[in-house]
Symmetry: C2
Subunit: 515 residues, 2 copies
Amino acid sequence: MLQQEGASALSFTRENEHISELLDRMHEVSDLSSLGALAEWDQNTAMPDGAGEMRGDQMATLQGLLHERWTAERLGQLLDELEKPGVQDGLTDADKGLIRESRRGYDKSTKLPRTLVEELARVQAASFEAWRKARTNNDFASFAPWLARTIKLQREIADHFGFDETRYDALLDQYEPGMTTSKLDTLFAPVREVSAALLKRIQDSGNTVDDSCLQGNFSAEKQMALSEAVLRGMGYEFGRGGISRSPHPFTTSFGSPFDVRLTVNPDPEFIQASVMAAIHEGGHALYEQGSASVLARTPLAGGASMGAHESQSRLWENNIGRSLPYWRGQYAAIREAFPEHFANVDVETFARALNKVQPSLIRIEADEVTYNLHIIIRYEMERAMINEEVAVESLPGMWNAKYREYLGIEPDTDSKGILQDVHWSSGMGYFPTYTLGNMYGAQIFHKLHSVFPDFDERLAKGETAFVLNWLQQHMYAYGVTYLPEDLVTRVTGEAPNPDHFVRYLTNKFEKIYSL
Amino acid sequence: MLQQEGASALSFTRENEHISELLDRMHEVSDLSSLGALAEWDQNTAMPDGAGEMRGDQMATLQGLLHERWTAERLGQLLDELEKPGVQDGLTDADKGLIRESRRGYDKSTKLPRTLVEELARVQAASFEAWRKARTNNDFASFAPWLARTIKLQREIADHFGFDETRYDALLDQYEPGMTTSKLDTLFAPVREVSAALLKRIQDSGNTVDDSCLQGNFSAEKQMALSEAVLRGMGYEFGRGGISRSPHPFTTSFGSPFDVRLTVNPDPEFIQASVMAAIHEGGHALYEQGSASVLARTPLAGGASMGAHESQSRLWENNIGRSLPYWRGQYAAIREAFPEHFANVDVETFARALNKVQPSLIRIEADEVTYNLHIIIRYEMERAMINEEVAVESLPGMWNAKYREYLGIEPDTDSKGILQDVHWSSGMGYFPTYTLGNMYGAQIFHKLHSVFPDFDERLAKGETAFVLNWLQQHMYAYGVTYLPEDLVTRVTGEAPNPDHFVRYLTNKFEKIYSL
């Protein structure tokens, strides 16, 4: 029954001439965007340094063309026509999603004046350089004027996009359509509370986790082969993808679901870096490879939002990939790759080592308990910046105070503090999607357990295809057809609810740390 | 003095508003073409199989856009304006080349009716498949109807393009601008004669060359490293390029001179395949990397024609790369890569082995003496086909008769005969550029010897930078500024002249085979 609904929701009404024309236009912009993504990927993985300036010119030409297409008068007329009352009656969910996402793209391209777009590009480029140098030299003062300009520009952008409640909502909406500050505050409060409380209980217990078995000497080639095996085991299709190396792991699509590639970066002394990154990127990639074919070459192929995307990378990496049942089923591959190192390490020790909790100053190194505290600090600071509640020169102090309050530690340099992330050199509104992802992931994980009461047993037998199949059918296939909150509700039968994450985190770490 | 002339020839007159507009338009089409080349490269080196159909759609979108740009009414007006009598007085050579090449692109895109272009694409795709199967099954009859359609289409194309003397000239002009059948006949006659005569003298002499030292067991990784070292030695810049593996070696540009990459394909049992392919592709790549920066992002960046391009791959591969002086300077790298294998092989034996003459049925395996006979057979057959002087079913017999006449051998299957090359599944007029390349290469090689009387001594000392510098300054920098014949004349001080190749070939092989 569900499947049938899905099948009809996931088709376009080509007989409607406006839908048909919109589809043709979206095919064109999707194709050009995919070629642009390929050029960027090449830039990050293979392009020689000497080609950088010319590639910039080539990309500017492509962006110009895309802008021309996204701002076409005819596209605006078509959307106006399709948004008239009653016109969408009888259209499929995919049709409606296509109209909604085309409108988003059109508005995004037409609402900002050209001068603002150009200034933004200039400021982002200069601000990135300033941030890079400031971090190297631990010199926040040299970055401060750029951060001030970024805040000013982001406020202007928000005003052009428009918002109902607060200015920050307009920025958030770029990455998480439909999400608002007031919803976030409700969702994040229990997460902040339980994370801080759990951390304190773990520290007070005096119990520890030993992760020394993850350290050693691991050949990069073998780690690459292991990453490939792990991905294959998850169900990632190499016939529609590929793996390579880059300094920072990432996943990118040159047209989902048919071409979704990822990178990892083995650390020769710490096996966790490559294996867990492969599972994380694999989660992103499975989501992209899961879009229904009919959505290909439209803005509906891919993930519903940054939060929805992160929910899948985290679900596979944390909820599944850092669980003992999963490693009961997969540990043989690790032992086979590095037999001498792991000969005397049992699977319980290995899986436990992946869950060491330790408050650190660096977000990207954080464990599951502390990760969201890093995010919430950034979210609270972004709101204060956009609302002009704090002077730029006071931001490092605010950062440090929040770290002391939430994590009990404080950076001794701004490089390890407010300067650690690249994000604020380009914009604001993105950070919350990481924690939304963790929450959505836990809620979907809970749903999986209720659908499959023998979930852990099957994982422990080495099965994962049942997980992928279910996610594929109930979530991945729909791509961007639904807004993220609607999607989570459809997948789990419940609106986004932080309780699942709170319960997951508490149960898991009470057990690991014998609290 | 020459350099100063060059400097002024190689600039665009931006003050002329028509040149300036033309340049902007050509930047746009060059950028889009480069992104298309990147997508094709990806298709040949990294793209997963499952993405093939979608990539086809993406490329079709890009080609559609390019066609739109190349057929723009405004481009036609601009060219008409710039071609009016007297308008080009005072313009630079680069300006004139830009107008000429823009006209070529405009005509190529506007002279063929859309229906013909679409039919050609369809026939080429189907014909390629038919050829592939026919070659596998040694079944010329199944390919014959496709070859007949190709001949018919090529005749139509030639009629749309127009020609002064014979229909074949219009096809030839696509690859070798300005070249005609009557010029070719004059140039090719002595080449055919000397090649056949030399082959006979070698065979009659009973003398042989032993190439067993090139066979053995050579690790692919070491061959890749060796290829890289050889390329570095030639002056190929990895900072504006890169090397990877693909089933067939090729060079491609994503915007010359800044991004020119190549591939090789090591044969684990035959070292010549990777090393000589690296030098061959290196010749192509040096030419592309040599274009003056000012020509970047215009149709003037790159090689003047297919023949001019092949002249550089052959000059580096054959004239230089199969010479004893070159290997006196470079042999250490071979020995270092495979010390055991080459410990008892002296450099004379190695260089001699690279020059074994043996008539074979397969063009791509041919030596310098027989290679052009393979080409001339194809050229003569193409002319007969385009002039409808021969029935399609008689072509295999014609092929075999020519092989018997020119090379003294005859294929026992069509798969090793008329079906061996992919070219006739897509079009005609390309083959002659290979032999033109050999001729131009020998003529330029002769010029280099007269400029540098100690040419061989310097090669033997391991020097090659003096060769590259001279070619860069006198030939490569100009890109497509001049028509190929004019370019050869400028570089060598003499119009294309087959005598140089005849003398080069005779002297070299009389010595090697002690004739």
